[in-house]
């Protein structure tokens, strides 16, 4: 020990932080790869890099022609000419279209060991190659059992005939040379699977052809400089003059794209620190038109935004220009001088999850008054500390002296007057504990930043008023015009997952639809489902156990042997289908009898499935299984008596996150959430008649009523308040449910 003690702690840190040297052959190979890159030119464009790969004389010619054109034909027409260089392809993103665009001749699939890998599309542009592929049938056992372990992460690549490998980069693959129309797509391993668990080294031969003439490529109009960027509107103690144009310190719009119904805008946000702290954005970008109307937008998923850049897409019908974009920031900085304080508490020899100590003890830290309100034992070997604080306190560091936390977290209350800090340990500290509070972080008052934008050229192709697609019953704009639920429809009940009384624990509450009565079903469960006759509710408890509650008697029982979520009652109320896990499967389909008399039955062995529902006669159970990659799901039916599974069709446009497919009680329609995590589609159980029902209204939860109404919970990104509505798909009748139903609909 003596030797090491002679070493300074700084040196110990350096030794402890030492990392292995890279392999010399790796460094040499990468060096060669860089040397083989096409030479760039210093005549660069500010934002699009694709053109940099073109020969220098081409760039020079383009710049010279643009300059000449600017003086000869004027700026508007120069912008028009610029449009030819970069284009936006929905689903692909922004590409250099100065060379002919090519696409995949036909999808290519390879199946090995019941796992199918399919390249569904490829788009080849001058600056990059975009390839979409998906995998189906990977067993759950192929993935790491622990979150902190990771499986394979080797990159896919394209192999050309001459042996060149084009490895995936941030935004697709490098461009394929114009004269090359064939390549092999190589997937060394399926992402995140454990080595040896599934087939590896997949090779799929691809063939490329010129893009069809009807391929949608929207011109990208580059704006420079951005119009009317402004300094913040509410800066205190600033030496700058508010209102002075300062493109470096505000919201700027750098590109616009005309879409079929509006625009995509891209821009930058460079808030400057006023007092030297760390600038942190609060809330999301708000856009209003010149009449003050809020512009509802989405984030185009195929446009990558780097740090300090943003991109939004919105319909433009009826908008009045200019649009004003606003963002708010705060500055966070450590309190000075640095200080710490110690608080003692006795956790006892055996603290239990849920056990709580209340102190309401005030203390001073770096000149600020905080209150330790309470300490609670969390379920995972940890403690949660609740502090009361003044609004400018942004955070504190907490440790238990003598114990090293293996995880930590924190949150700020909505009213900014309380802070929660959670610490977890390999073993829960017990007995008399010393809590060290330090590292006080303070935040400034919010600062608002603004920028403005008007279209480069007026649009004459948009209607004066919005014209929804045929079949669409609801858009976000029409929610504000909905009538409340009429009395004749207010006889039913709704099961809602909400924060009890607005501030309590989260749980399930049964409401009368007119909100005249409410009954707390549980304060410790989620994934509620009402039985067909409405007399019982099932839910998934905190440890995944499945409960059934008799609503009249308020009697709660646990179904023995079953654990899972995504519960669906059979039409006769005798069984519940659910998603549970088995020995070799993760989140697969199971059923259990509601009297608990039979053991759970595993219906399918695919992992990460979701229940769609039971046919009206109870003979078929529908479920969906996702592809890995993309947003497609295979829909299956399972004949309960015969035990036969049949593949029905593929949902291509569903969200990969929470599809929430629901079969209507009459068995005619499956409703599911769209790829944008905001819309709802309907499709028949045979895959026919798929159409949009709710367009971008922020749908987060759904439930069918027995009489054919579809309940929807709407939580649009930019809306102040969520809303619950009832919608009748065959007539488009839609009504607002009472605001007292303040949570996610889980049953009707």
């Amino acid at each position: 020990m003596t030797n090491l003690n002679a070493v300074s702690f700084e040196e110990k840190m350096q030794i402890a932080a030492q990392m292995p040297q890279p392999r010399p052959e790796f460094l040499a190979n990468l060096r060669m790869q860089l040397a083989a890159q096409p030479p760039y030119t210093t005549a660069s464009r500010p934002r699009f890099e694709g053109i940099l790969r073109r020969p220098a004389w081409v760039v020079s010619m383009i710049v010279a022609l643009l300059l000449a054109a600017f003086f000869i034909i004027g700026p508007q027409r120069v912008w028009a000419a610029m449009r030819g260089l970069f284009g936006y392809i929905p689903g692909v993103g922004i590409v250099d279209q100065s060379a002919p665009i090519r696409v995949l001749a036909e999808p290519v699939s390879v199946t090995r060991d019941e796992i199918t890998l399919t390249v569904t599309s490829a788009t080849l542009a001058g600056d990059r190659t975009d390839i979409h592929y998906r995998v189906f049938g990977v067993p759950g056992s192929a993935y790491p059992a622990q979150e902190d372990a990771s499986g394979c992460s080797q990159s896919e690549y394209l192999r050309l005939a001459d042996g060149t490998q084009l490895t995936r980069m941030n935004n697709g693959f490098p461009p394929v040379p114009a004269e090359v129309n064939e390549a092999v797509f190589v997937v060394p391993c399926i992402v995140n699977t454990l080595s040896g668990s599934v087939p590896e080294n997949w090779e799929l031969p691809l063939r490329f052809v010129p893009a069809p003439p009807d391929l949608t490529v929207m011109p990208v109009i580059e704006l420079s400089p951005s119009p009317q960027a402004t300094l913040p509107t509410s800066v205190e103690n600033s030496s700058d003059t508010p209102g002075t144009p300062a493109p470096e310190s505000a919201i700027t719009v750098t590109e616009e794209i005309e879409t079929s119904d509006g625009y995509i805008l891209m821009g930058e946000f460079h808030p400057q620190a006023q007092s030297g702290g760390r600038v942190q954005q609060i809330g999301s970008l708000e856009i209003r038109d010149a009449s003050g109307k809020k512009v509802n937008y989405t984030y185009p998923p195929d446009i990558l935004t780097e740090q300090d850049r943003w991109a939004v897409q919105f319909p433009a019908t009826g908008l009045v220009y200019p649009l004003t974009m606003s963002l708010s920031t705060i500055e966070v900085h450590p309190a000075e001088p640095a200080a710490s304080t110690e608080l003692m508490f006795d956790a006892g020899p055996s603290p239990q999850p849920g056990q709580e100590w209340f102190f309401n003890q005030e203390f001073q830290l770096a000149g600020h008054t905080l209150t330790l309100v309470s300490i609670e034992v969390r379920s995972q070997n940890g403690y949660s500390f609740l502090f009361g604080a003044v609004p400018q306190v942004y955070g504190v560091g907490v440790q238990i002296s003598g114990y090293t936390a293996v995880g930590s977290g924190g949150s700020i209350g909505a009213a900014k007057n309380e802070l929660t800090v959670s610490l977890s340990y390999e073993q829960l500290p017990t007995g008399m504990l010393t809590v060290v509070v330090s590292d006080l972080l303070l935040s400034s008052d919010p600062v608002s930043w603004q920028g403005q934008w008007s279209p480069a050229t007026p649009r004459s192709d948009l209607p004066d008023v919005p014209t929804p697609q045929p079949g669409v019953c609801l858009t976000i704009d029409s929610v504000t015009q909905l009538d409340p639920l009429p009395a004749e429809l207010s006889q039913g009940t709704a099961l809602v997952y909400e924060q009890i009384d607005g501030t309590g624990p989260w749980g399930l509450v049964l409401y009368n639809l007119d909100s005249s009565q409410e009954q707390v079903v549980t304060t410790a469960g989620n994934w509620g489902a009402l039985s067909p006759d409405g007399s019982q509710a099932a839910y998934s408890g905190l440890s995944n156990e499945i409960h059934v509650v008799d609503l009249a008697l308020q009697a709660d029982k646990v179904l023995p042997g079953a654990g899972g979520f995504n519960l669906r009652w059979s039409p006769d109320g005798q069984q519940i289908a659910y998603i549970g896990s088995g020995n070799d499967t993760i989140n697969s389909v199971w059923t259990i009898s509601t009297d608990g008399a039979q053991q759970p039955r595993q219906i399918a062995e695919w992992s990460y499935a979701t229940i769609v529902g039971w046919s009206p006669d109870g003979t078929q159970l529908y479920f969906a299984v996702p592809f890995t990659g993309g947003s497609a799901w295979n829909v299956y039916s399972f004949a309960v008596e015969a035990g036969i599974t049949q593949e029905l069709f593929t949902i291509e446009n569903g969200t990969p996150k929470f599809l929430n497919p629901l079969l209507s009680p009459d068995g005619e329609w499956i409703a599911y959430r769209g790829r944008d995590n905001s819309s709802v589609y309907l499709v028949r159980p045979d895959g026919s008649d798929m159409h949009l029902l709710v367009e971008n209204a922020g749908v987060v939860a759904m439930a069918w009523s027995r009489s054919g109404w579809l309940g929807l919970t709407l939580r649009p990104a930019q809306a102040e308040q969520p809303a619950n509505v009832l919608l009748r798909p065959d007539t488009c009748e839609t009504y607002l449910l009472p605001p007292a139903l303040d949570g996610d609909l889980q049953g009707l």
């Binding site: 020990m1 990392m19 890279p22 600038v279 450590p334």
Partner: protein, 190 residues
């Protein structure tokens, strides 16, 4: 091939070697190799520290240098090339974890470097191993301070640029963190 690793942890103002290399590379793409030689190892080791796996570190290192090569003509050198490089590295790391669909784990299965100049005695190894465990138990933002300082070898000014904080604040944070770790190490030892 010789690898010229930048001087570690000096906060004296060094000659603007990066600036000269950047200006040379912006004029002549062949000169980019010198920037690569200078920064390849620290970048690789930073990614190794983030991901804990050589294959991932190699993949991310390749991505970074190919991206930097393409972006270099647009880069405006203001004396913070390292900050620019490691800002990109941080973004790539974030994308890496986003692609995996989860956050960066607190623990990484890092092995002691095979060619480490760690003292040979078992007790010394044990103390360094305990220090490593303490580092790995830190929140990611504190681990990042250590990665940028001791793995990447950045100056406090460069760290401040990467982390978008004041230099003094970064310095204080790291010193406080060191003091805490030292206290914990001694406490642990006692």
């Amino acid at each position: 091939m010789s690898i010229n690793k930048p001087n570690k942890n000096t906060d004296e103002i060094p000659p603007d070697e990066d600036g000269e290399l950047v200006r040379a590379a912006q004029k002549d793409p062949a000169a980019f190799q010198q920037l690569y030689d200078r920064w390849a190892v620290p970048i690789y080791q930073y990614f190794y520290a983030r991901t804990g796996e050589a294959a991932n570190a190699e993949d991310l290192t390749s991505q970074l240098f190919l991206s930097v090569y393409q972006a270099l003509p647009r880069y405006q050198h203001r004396g913070t090339f390292a900050a620019w490089l490691f800002t990109i590295a941080r973004n790539l790391s974030r994308d890496y974890y986003r692609k995996l669909g989860r956050e960066a784990p607190l623990y990484q299965a890092q092995q002691l470097a095979a060619d480490s100049d760690l003292p040979a005695e078992a007790a010394q190894r044990e103390e360094i191993a305990r220090l490593r465990r303490l580092i790995h138990s830190l929140p990611d933002r504190e681990q990042e301070l250590i990665r940028l300082r001791y793995v990447a070898g950045l100056t406090f000014a460069e760290m401040a640029d990467v982390l978008k904080k004041r230099k003094d604040a970064v310095k204080k944070s790291l010193y406080r963190l060191q003091a805490r770790l030292q206290g914990l190490l001694e406490q642990d030892h006692d």
